[in-house]
Every structure is written in C-alpha cells, then in structure tokens.
C-alpha cells in the first residue's frame, strides 16, 4: 500500500505522543532541569592547534565576583579511570580518547584548556574572557590536500584480518581495461558539522563521592552510563543518565565527549551541581563532524550497459589520537551487480579533533561519489541514468553472495520516476529553461545496512487496563515514543491513549543508543515481543476465568479487551482480568535480538531520490524546486512521523549538497565558520515541497515487526541526486561539495 499524504483517509498515524509538551515549551531538555544550588561553567579553549600549555594566568579571572574555580590540568582532580600522568607529558598513541584537563598537551584548536565555574553564566563568561593561556607552539598539519601523502591503512584493518575496512576485491578489477566506456574521477566532501539546534549541554550532580547523576545530551543513556562509570570507577548503577528530550543530534551525541567529563570533574571538585552549555562556536570543535573525505572512482561499462568494474578508493580525515572509521566505500560492494569490484579505505591523521558519525555516516559520503559516477557513466553510454541502474540491479547481495532479506528498490525507482515525471525529461543537459532558469532533473539510489542490537523492554499492565512500556532507548527527533506506543497499542489491541512509553533514562531496561538506523529494528522488536508476552499472560489469566479463553489460538485482543472467538460480542477487559486475580499490576520483561537470519540474508534498507533543480544561468545559484523520495524500509510503523524523518533527510541532503562547508584557516588550524552566519544550513526558503512514498511491505526475515531503519537512507544519495540534477541543468559535472555558485559560473 502506498500512502502519500496526510489527507489520505487510510492514514491512521498517531500524532506525536510528546507533541503537546514540545509545542508548549514544557518538554525539558538537558540544560533545563531545575537543580538546587546549581553553578555555571564556561570553557576556555585553545587558540593553537598543536603544542603545549606553558602557563595559565587565571588570577584576574579568580577575582571576578561569583567565580568559584578556574579548573585546568594544573589543578583538576584525578579521574580514577585514567592512567597516571607522565612527567614530562607525552603524546598519546593513536586509539586513545582525548582526556580533558589531563596534561599540558594541545592536540587541536578549540581544545578545552580551562573551565570557569561561577554563580551565574554572566560571571563565568566574563571571567573566561580574562584567562590568559600561553603556549609553546609546534608546527601543525590541518590541510587535508597537502598531507594526502601521509594517509595510511587504518590500524583497525592492520590489526584485524576480518575488519570490513580491509582492502576488498572480488573478480578482477583490472577487467576495467575491457570496458567500452570508462570514467575516472575524484570527489571531495569537506568537513561538515551536525549542528543540532540544541547545543550540547550537561548538568552534573554528585551525591557524595560515589553517586553521579547527569542530565546530558547524548544518543545513548546506557553507553553514556557505562563510559562515565568506567572513567570514575563506579558501579554502573551508581551512575544515572537522564536524557529524555534531545534537541537533535544526528550523530553528535553517540559518545561521551570531553566537555561532559569536564562538567563531571568540576562538579566533583566543587561538590556543587555544575551546568555546562557549549557555545555555538564550541560546537565546531567539541562534538565531532562528518570528516573531510577524498574519493577516487574508476568505473566502466560495456556497450550494452552492464558494469564492467568499479574501483572505489576513499580517504577520510581523523585526529592524531583516534581513528574514526566510516563505510565510505562499502556501497560500491553491494549496490550493483558488478562482477569486478575493488575498494580501498585510508585514513589521514591531522591536528584536529576526532570526527564522528553524522547522519548516513560513510554511505552519504560514498554514495555521493558512486551515484555521481553512475550518472556520468550513463551519460557517456548515452543511456538513461535510471535505465542504467535497472540494468545493473542486484537481485542478490553481490558482496556476501546472499539473498536480500527483502528488496523493493525496483518498485521505489518505478514509483519515484512516475511521480516526478521522469519519462518527460529531455536527456540533453542544459536543454530546458523555465522562467529564465536552467531546469534539471537528477536521481540517485540509497541504501544502508541498518543495524539491530539486543534490546530489552518491560511492559506493565496497570489495574485500570492501561499499560506502561519502558526501554532505555532515545528520541533525538524521529518520534521513538510515538512509534513504540503504536507498536504496543497494536499488539495489545488498545487505544494508544492508554499506552505510555518511557525512554531516555539509564535505569530503564537495556537498549542500544539511537544510531545506525537501529531503533525500530531493535527496540521496536523488543516492544513487540514484550507486548506479545504480556498478551499471552493476560490470555492465560483469562483462561482461568472462563473456558472460552483456553483455546488461546482463537483469542483476539481489541479495544483493551480479549474476545474468544473473535466475533464474540462480549469481551473481557484487561482491567477486569487484573481485578479478578487481585493484581495491582502485571509485569513482563523480554529481550529481543537477531539470530541466524543475519547469516542467511543480507539486510539493507533501500530507497531513491528524484530531484528537480533550477539554476540561475547568470549567478550560478541552485534552487531545489521539487523532490520525490521513495523508500523500502519494510513495514511503516507510523506514517506521519516516518514521513517527517524522510523529509528531514532530504533537507539535510540539500545542506550537504549546496551549502555546508566547515572552512578552516590553515595558518592557525582553526575553523573560520563558527556560527550559522558562516556555516549555512537550509532555511525555510531553501526547502521546496517534498513528496514521500513508501513501499510499505514487511520484511519478514528482518525482525518480528518486519520494519527496517529509515534514518540514514533518508539522506544517503541526496547529494548525488542534486549534483546529477545540476549537471542535467547546466552541463557541468561538479565533484566537489558543496555546489556553490562560484563553481557554476
């Protein structure tokens, strides 16, 4: 069933369960918890990219009224989970997470070097401006292009034979020489930042020496709990992480960052609750980014349009102290039925902070290159780009030689092509104008190997027949609580109003963080399973009340009641079942995880994007004027919120393709784009109508709910589709993002 609009009467979506809280401003985000005795922290960050601190002059700052402490490596408490400091300080080997306020060494510009804690934010901010740090500066290397020669095989691949980041080859990539048509090209994606609207923030509260509570912006309360417990050598249960509302993250909250530890250190040292909110400029050096990545693709086809070979190489930026690995070249192994494929992945360490996963990590980067190259090759073959993709459609996974668990990408292509009117497109580039603007259409595929992790959920039926379902999952925006409520209500045959779903607290049952398009497949499955178990228990209890419920196979749950047989007029309500058995509540806990099916099938979410652009022939300004996006993510749980997630991915892709560029002044190794005036993200006026379609066919092999992840494929491929549309409009093939007007005139 294809559903396309909210007006569609068949759409029974739930509105967001936390909608009222969000539109009235009563939803409480990390920095907004009212904690008595709270004090405010402001970070002082390094102004050099490499070297060491020789002195911190903080006397003037300390005399500012209200200032409680100036914390730095000179006086910070020892973090028990860290190794003893070396004298003199030594640079850490790669693979060591940055330790804040640990020693005098500087690894990147913007590194926290001191923190002011004061009674008010104003006092702390003023005092921070008075701290004078002097450095012994060393020559830094931040320029990716100039240092390309220093890139190397990731240690991860050197150490592990089965690492997916090993060089890969199937068939014989030299078969490219036999291709009738061949493209060899380089693609560049600059550093791009997540920049969620809510800056990262934390309130750290210690009770005594061994109990820590943090209200923290992150994407995984359980992993944050584990990381903090490890750092401070506490039992896990002594660390409570509360992250109920997250103001966007897109990957920036997957790990515990130095600023979080800085606030926890300060709170311990001062025995006061400490609040730290990053400034927007600090968001560029504190919480990771999509790494600068250079790719080379050699791709060829024979005359009839079959791919002859693909060689895909990618080199990504990382820091000097950690490896950050991405799936940059992976899509080329799996997307097309090409017998000869080779991929190589390299890392280039620079004097920068460590990158992290940003929406569609690796695949968004790699698919820009692959789908641009496919488009270019199609034009070289004088073939329609969509026809070319269909010609090389992979009916099974060519990388793992396994059947797909499900794949409806062909249906996505067909639906998208029909909706955008692809067949009416004139193939010749730069051949159509509309209102004086060059008009172009482009498309690209999307895929993502969504994850599924073991997850637990608890369901507690209340005496009044309502149910509380709990899991330590997160909602960074997709509407996790709403989707889970929908799953629970469906299984239990209840009105969604009678379901409450709790998330975002480390005391809840184990669940993975929100990343890798894993929440619905993982936690959704656990919620489904636990509600099935609860229903079974209720049916068993009903069987003790009346014989007609003993034939468990014919019992049906609807309207908060059990019916047996299904057409029976009189149901037995959940409340009455609990009342009969003198139960105040009925609790079930279940775990759900993947099994052998992951070895029997290859599991991906698929999709495609069709884009219409107008390009001003005089100024080179590109406007995306229409987008059609189609996704095959198995069963759609809640259309309304899924649709928003797809739209959000397109908007992120528009930013990635046309505007986002974290520019650095390499004389200082410092970003010059440090706010929204210089780091541009799409605004209302940049976003056209976006049409969203789903195939909505359950993937019965994937998991109990037949639903696959959507978050990543929403953005993967979008930049390629836009670049391809720009080529169609202008005849210019741009292989370096973002596509700004200067590159088109």
């Amino acid at each position: 069933m294809n559903r396309q609009s909210l007006e569609n009467p068949s759409d029974t979506s739930l509105s967001r369960v936390d909608g009222a809280a969000k539109v009235t401003g009563t939803a409480i985000y990390s920095a907004e918890y009212a904690v008595p005795g709270i004090v405010h922290a402001v970070l002082v960050t390094s102004t050099i990219a490499k070297g060491s601190i020789t002195a911190i002059e903080s006397h003037e700052a300390e005399t500012v009224p209200g200032v409680l402490a100036v914390i730095s490596h000179l006086n910070a408490i020892t973090v028990p989970g860290w190794p003893p400091k070396k004298q003199p300080a030594e640079r850490v080997p790669p693979g060591t997470a940055f330790r804040v306020f640990y020693d005098s060494l500087i690894y990147f510009d913007g590194q926290p070097v001191a923190m002011i804690v004061a009674g008010t934010h104003e006092q702390a901010a003023h005092a921070a401006s008075l701290v004078r740090v002097t450095y012994r500066q060393e020559a830094h290397q931040t320029h990716f292009e100039k240092n390309m020669g220093k890139s190397g095989i990731p240690l991860n691949a050197q150490r592990a034979q089965n690492s997916p980041f090993q060089d890969y080859e199937r068939g014989d990539a030299s078969a490219l020489h036999n291709a009738d048509v061949r493209i060899d090209a380089e693609y560049t994606i600059p550093t791009q930042h997540h920049q969620p609207l809510e800056p990262h923030a934390i309130i750290a509260v210690w009770e005594g020496d061994d109990k820590l509570t943090v209200y923290d912006k992150n994407q995984g309360v359980k992993s944050a709990q584990g990381q903090l417990a490890q750092a401070f050598k506490l039992p896990r249960e002594n660390v409570e992480v509360v992250s109920k509302y997250i103001g966007g993250a897109f990957g920036s909250g997957i790990r515990v960052w130095p600023h979080t530890l800085a606030a926890v250190i300060a709170a311990k040292q001062l025995k006061r609750p400490v609040k730290l909110v990053l400034g927007r400029e600090q968001m560029f050096t504190s919480v990771g980014y999509r790494p600068y990545t250079k790719q080379k693709i050699s791709i060829g086809a024979v005359k009839d349009g079959r791919l002859a070979g693909i060689v895909h190489e990618g080199t990504g930026q990382t820091s000097m102290y950690e490896e950050h690995l991405e799936r940059t070249v992976f899509a080329s192994r799996a997307l097309y039925a090409c017998p000869h494929v080779a991929t190589r992945y390299r890392l280039l360490p620079l004097d920068v902070n460590t990158p992290t996963w940003m929406r569609g990590p690796g695949d968004a980067t790699g698919m820009f290159a692959l789908e641009s190259a496919m488009d270019e090759l199609a034009y070289a073959l004088k073939t329609d780009p969509l026809e070319f993709r269909l010609k090389n459609y992979a009916e099974s996974d060519p990388e793992r030689n396994l059947p797909w668990s499900a794949k409806s990408l062909r249906e996505c292509y067909e639906l998208g092509a029909e909706k955008i009117g692809w067949k009416n497109r004139l193939p010749e580039p730069r051949s159509v104008k509309r209102n004086g603007m060059l008009l172009g259409y482009g498309m690209a595929s999307s895929l993502y190997g969504f994850h599924r992790h073991p997850s637990r959920a608890r369901a507690v039926m209340q005496a009044d027949g309502s149910v509380i379902v709990q899991s330590a999952t997160m909602d960074i925006g997709p509407g996790t609580g709403t989707a889970m409520t929908r799953i629970a209500a469906k299984v239990l045959g209840m009105n969604a109003q009678k379901v409450r779903f709790d998330l975002g607290h480390s005391a809840l049952p184990d669940a993975p963080g929100q990343n890798g398009s894993s929440t619905i497949p993982s936690v959704g499955s656990a919620v489904h399973v636990v509600c099935e178990a609860l229903k079974s228990k209720l049916i068993a209890l009903a069987g003790e009340m009346s014989d007609r419920f003993k034939a468990t196979g014919q019992v049906v749950a609807k309207n908060g009641q059990l019916f047996s047989p299904a057409e029976d007029k009189d149901g037995l309500s959940y409340a009455d079942i609990l009342k009969y058995h003198h139960l105040n509540e009925l609790e079930v806990m279940e775990e759900s995880k993947s099994g052998a099916e992951r070895d029997q099938y290859s599991m991906y979410s698929f999709g495609c994007h069709f884009v219409e652009v107008e390009v001003n022939p005089l100024t080179g300004e590109v406007r995306v004027t229409r987008v059609v996006t189609c996704a095959d993510v198995g069963a759609i749980i809640n259309y309304k919120t899924a649709r928003s997630q797809s739209i959000g991915g397109i908007v992120g892709g528009i930013g990635m393709a046309l505007m986002e560029h974290s520019a650095m002044d390499h004389r200082f190794g410092r970003y010059v784009t440090t706010d929204f005036a210089s780091y541009h993200i799409p605004v209302h006026a940049d976003v056209p109508p976006i049409e969203v379609y789903y195939i909505d066919k359950p993937d019965v092999q994937a998991n109990p709910i037949g639903s696959k992840g959507l978050g990543e494929i929403a953005i993967v491929g979008v930049a390629g589709a836009i670049a391809n549309a720009v080529f169609h409009a202008t005849g210019k093939r741009l292989r370096e993002l973002p596509i700004t007007p200067d590159k088109l005139i």
Partner: protein
C-alpha cells in the same frame, strides 16, 4: 538575583519608570563616575556582579508583572531560562542567527538572545508558555501537532512564536511568503514543509491568533 513575584499594584508603573530612568542614567554614567561615587551608590542588595552592579527592572511576562534585580549583562533569554524558570524559550546559538529564542515583545517578534533584559523595562513579553490559554492550546500549536511541524522540538517554541507573528503581520498569504518570513527560524531536523503547512492552515481558517 532577587525576584519579587508579587503582582505590582496597577498604579505602580510610573514609579517603576522613574526608578528605571534613574538606573539607566546611573549605568550611562558608569564609565565616567569616580570609583568612590560608585561605591556610595550601591544599595546593599545591589552587590557587584563581576564588573557591573545589579539593576532593578519591572516588566510584564505572560501577563504577570515582575520586579527583578539583575546583572545588566543578562540577556532577556537568560533571564527567562535561568532566573524565571521559563525554559520553553530556547537558546540555539546566542548570536541571533537561529530564531529558537523568539518571543513577542509588545506584540513584535523579538530575538531574546540579542536583547538585554534591562532594555525591556516596562515591556510586555509573551513567551511560548504564555501562548496557550491554560490547557487549551493556541490554534497554531494544534496545527503544529496535526502537521507534525517538528521532530526534536527544540526550535519549535521559536517557530510557533514566529509563526503566530507571521500570520498577525499579514505575511502568511502564500507558501512562498511564509517561507520567506519564517526563514529566520532554523530547523535542523528539517520540518520546514510541515511548519509551512501548519501556518497556512491556521491562516486559511481565519482563526484569530
């Protein structure tokens, strides 16, 4: 900081105004005033806050008069969030570039992060908390829920306050016009098309906003 939560009698504004003028002149003269004069001028509760002294002001927030003594460096945004517990107004960038902090000051949409609180003596400020009528949501709040005009919800209060102003200003005549006049409110989740739909629907229905 001290807050007087009691309502001020209706005849108080003039008195407050005089008080504020005195304070304003005091601030204006700070740079020229000799240090001992400053010391003498300080009232006991107006202790130094860094390199400044506290300033008293009075303003109406969501229909409630408030008399407050604050650090003059404090923005209206921080006053709302840190001192008055009105955390519905969000801090996104603190540079006036994202719109998350949008409130209405005397009926006009205003970026509260670019506004010092002391500049708002005598003003009437409406925040997201003051938009709904008790439990009854404002029509635009209802429309945001219906059209799913948000995901993470962080930019939402600013979008709603701006959206209400956009309609009141007469700038919601078409989707293009809404996009133009809402472009100061960034949404990183990308809920823009749904926000536009919500605003257009409320405008079309003609409900008084």
């Amino acid at each position: 900081m001290d807050i007087d939560h009691d309502a001020i009698p209706p005849d108080a504004p003039d008195e407050d105004r005089r008080f504020f003028l005195k304070q304003s002149m005091f601030i204006a003269g700070l740079s020229m005033a000799p240090a001992d004069f400053l010391q003498a001028a300080l009232a006991p509760d107006d202790g130094p806050v860094g390199n400044a002294v506290k300033v008293k002001l009075s303003l109406t927030i969501n229909g409630k008069r408030r008399r407050i003594s604050i650090d003059p460096r404090m923005t209206l945004l921080d006053l709302l969030r840190e001192n008055l517990g009105l955390t519905g107004t969000k801090k996104g960038c603190d540079f006036g570039q994202c719109g998350a902090c949008t409130v209405h000051v005397d009926g006009r949409r205003t970026l509260s992060c670019l506004t010092f609180a002391v500049m708002q003596h005598g003003s009437k400020v409406t925040t997201i908390e003051g938009l709904s009528d008790g439990e009854k949501l404002h029509p635009l709040q209802e429309a945001f829920i219906k059209h799913d005009g948000f995901q993470c919800g962080y930019c939402t209060p600013g979008q709603v306050m701006s959206g209400v102003a956009c309609i009141r200003e007469g700038h919601a005549g078409s989707a293009d016009e809404v996009r133009e006049y809402m472009s100061g409110n960034l949404c990183r989740c990308g809920a823009y098309p749904n926000i536009v739909d919500a605003i257009l629907e409320v405008k079309k229905e003609g409900t008084k906003v």
